[in-house]
C-alpha cells in the first residue's frame, strides 16, 4: 500500500481537532501544505506543469492547435478547459463520462483565466472567420488528497506562461510566445465549525460545511468565485473568506509566478 497509515476518517475527529485550534498535520488554519512545481515535463504538450500540494498531485498540459473559430467570434481564438478526475487518482473517482465534479473543476479554472483576460484571444486569430488558434488546457488529476482546484489553477497559469504557439509546426508565421496579461491564482477557503481554513486535505474537505474558491489577480481584483458545500454563509464570513483568498493568492503569486 502506498501509505501505511491513514489518519482517522471520521469527520468528528477533524472537527474536534479544529475546535481545539489544531489540524491533523500540524498546520495553522491559514497555512498551505508544501507546494512543489515541475514545469515542461511533457514534451508533447506546448506547456505543462506538475503541481503537488501536500499529497495532491495534478498534471496540467496545454496544447495549441489551429481550428475554426466560433461563428459569433470570428476574430478570436478559442480557449477550452477540460478536467479528468481519473479513477487512478482516488478510490472515490469512477471511470465513465465526466461527472459534475470534473466539470465544475474545469469550469472554475476556466472562469479564472477567462475573467482575468489573461489571454488576449484576438491575438490568436490566424485568418478571420476561418482559422484561429485553439488553446486546450487539460487538467489530469493523479492523486487526490484534497484541494484539486487550487492545484489545477496554479498548474494552468504556470503552463500557459510557458506556452510556445507552434506556428512553425503548422507552416505559419507569427509571434510564437503566448502573451500572458495576468496571473490569476485560486485559493479555496473552507468553513469547519465556524473556523476558516485554507488548502483543505481530503478529510477536511469532507468535514467542511461550506467552501469558497476565490480566484484573484495581480492587482487584487477577483476574476472567479465558486461557492460549494451544503451550508449557507453569512456576508461577514464571505468577506473574510475573500480577504483570506486574495492574501494567500498574493503569497503564492510572489513565490511561483513572474511579475507581468
Amino acid at each position: 500500500m502506498g501509505q501505511e497509515v491513514i489518519e482517522d476518517i471520521r469527520k468528528d475527529y477533524v472537527y474536534d481537532l479544529i475546535e481545539q485550534g489544531k489540524r491533523a498535520d500540524g498546520r495553522g488554519f491559514l497555512d498551505f501544505r508544501d507546494i512543489t512545481v515541475e514545469r515542461d515535463l511533457i514534451k508533447k504538450a506546448d506547456g505543462s506543469t506538475r503541481v503537488q500540494i501536500g499529497d495532491t498531485v495534478v498534471l496540467v498540459g496545454v496544447k495549441v492547435e489551429p481550428g475554426a473559430p466560433f461563428p459569433d467570434t470570428p476574430n478570436k481564438g478559442v480557449l477550452m478547459t477540460n478536467a479528468e478526475l481519473v479513477p487512478l487518482a482516488s478510490p472515490e473517482f469512477e471511470s465513465g463520462p465526466p461527472g459534475e465534479n470534473s466539470i465544475e473543476l474545469a469550469r472554475v479554472v476556466d472562469r479564472g483565466i477567462r475573467g482575468s483576460e489573461t489571454i488576449d484571444l484576438e491575438k490568436l486569430c490566424i485568418e478571420e472567420g476561418e482559422k484561429v488558434w485553439m488553446v486546450f488546457i487539460d487538467i489530469h488529476t493523479l492523486d487526490n488528497d484534497g484541494n484539486l482546484v487550487d492545484a489545477a489553477a496554479l498548474g494552468a497559469i504556470m503552463s500557459l506562461l510557458n506556452v510556445t504557439i507552434p506556428y512553425e509546426q503548422y507552416g505559419l508565421t507569427g509571434e510564437d510566445t503566448l502573451q500572458i496579461r495576468d496571473t490569476p491564482v485560486a485559493v479555496t477557503v473552507v468553513e469547519i465549525g465556524g473556523n476558516l481554513l485554507v488548502d483543505p486535505n481530503v478529510y477536511e474537505e469532507s468535514a467542511a460545511t461550506s467552501k469558497l474558491t476565490v480566484i484573484s489577480n495581480a492587482d487584487g481584483s477577483i476574476s472567479g468565485l465558486q461557492k460549494s458545500g451544503s451550508s449557507g454563509l453569512t456576508e461577514e464570513k464571505i468577506v473574510k473568506m475573500i480577504e483570506i483568498g486574495i492574501e494567500k493568492a498574493r503569497e503564492i503569486r510572489e513565490k511561483y509566478l513572474p511579475k507581468i
Binding site: 501505511e4 497509515v5 491513514i6 489518519e7 476518517i9 471520521r10 468528528d12 475527529y13
Partner: protein, 223 residues
C-alpha cells in the same frame, strides 16, 4: 534486514515447509506476494500491503454501514462486508426494524469477533463485551499486514507502546487501532504506530522504537 522478495522468486526447495504467502511448483517454493521472507518454522512471505481477509476468531473494529433487518451491515476494512444479527443484543430485547438504530446507528464503531466465514464470503460477527467505541479517543488505520509488527513477539511491542505512551491502545486484526489518552499522548502513540508501520520490514525494530520513545520523552522533559 529481512530478505525482500517479489512474486515468482524461488525461495526454497523444502516444499514441506512451504507456508503462507508461497506456492509450490516443480519441487520449489516460490513467493506468491511482494514482501519479506520469514523462515522461522514454516517458510512464509509476509506481505507489507494488502487487504484484510477475515478469519474465524479475529477481533476487528467495524463501522455500521447499513441497517437491514435483522442485520446490521458492518464495514470491516475488507473487500467483504460483515453482518451482525440483532440477537447479539440478547433474546430479551425487543428489537424490530424500527428501533435497530437505537442500539447501533450508521457510522457507529464497534469491536466484534468474526464467528463464521462461509464459502460465499458471508461473514457473521459477534459483539465483544466492551463493544461500543462511543467516539472517545482516536481511530487510526494501518494495513492489516502491519498488525503483527505492532503487536510484536508475544506482545512486546504493544506493551512498550502502552507503557511509554501512557495510552489505552487496542489493535484489531483488520488494521484499525483505537487509541485513548490525553491529546499529547495520543499524538505520540499515533506517530509511533506510523513509524512501526513504515519500518515493518526492518529488523531490530522493537529496540529502535524503544530508543525513539525514550528520546522523545527526554526531549520533552528538557523543553
Amino acid at each position: 534486514m529481512y530478505k525482500v522478495v517479489v512474486p515468482g522468486d524461488c525461495i526454497s526447495t523444502e516444499v514441506n515447509r512451504a507456508g503462507e504467502g508461497t506456492y509450490v511448483e516443480d519441487g520449489n517454493v516460490y513467493a506468491l506476494k511482494y514482501g519479506v521472507v520469514d523462515d522461522r518454522g514454516t517458510i512464509k512471505v509476509v506481505a507489507l500491503s494488502g487487504k484484510y481477509m477475515p478469519v474465524n476468531g479475529d477481533v476487528v473494529v467495524g463501522k455500521i454501514a447499513e441497517i437491514s433487518f435483522p442485520y446490521w451491515i458492518v464495514d470491516i476494512a475488507s473487500p467483504y462486508e460483515a453482518r451482525l444479527h440483532k440477537s447479539e443484543f440478547g433474546r430479551g430485547e425487543k428489537i424490530d426494524f424500527g428501533n435497530m438504530c437505537e442500539y447501533l446507528d450508521i457510522d457507529d464503531l464497534i469491536v466484534a469477533k468474526v464467528m463464521n466465514v462461509d464459502v460465499m464470503m458471508r461473514i457473521d460477527l459477534a459483539l465483544k463485551n466492551e463493544f461500543k467505541m462511543d467516539g472517545v479517543g482516536r481511530l487510526i488505520e494501518v494495513s492489516p499486514t502491519k498488525v503483527p509488527r505492532i503487536i510484536g513477539r508475544s506482545g512486546s511491542m504493544i506493551r512498550l507502546l502502552k507503557d511509554k505512551c501512557n495510552c489505552f491502545i487496542f489493535v484489531a486484526k483488520n488494521g484499525r487501532i483505537w487509541i485513548k489518552g490525553s491529546s499529547a499522548d495520543m499524538d505520540l502513540a499515533s506517530q509511533t504506530v506510523m513509524k512501526i508501520a513504515n519500518e515493518a520490514h526492518t529488523s531490530g525494530l522493537t529496540d529502535r522504537i524503544a530508543l525513539f520513545l525514550d528520546s522523545f520523552k527526554s526531549e520533552k522533559g528538557e523543553g
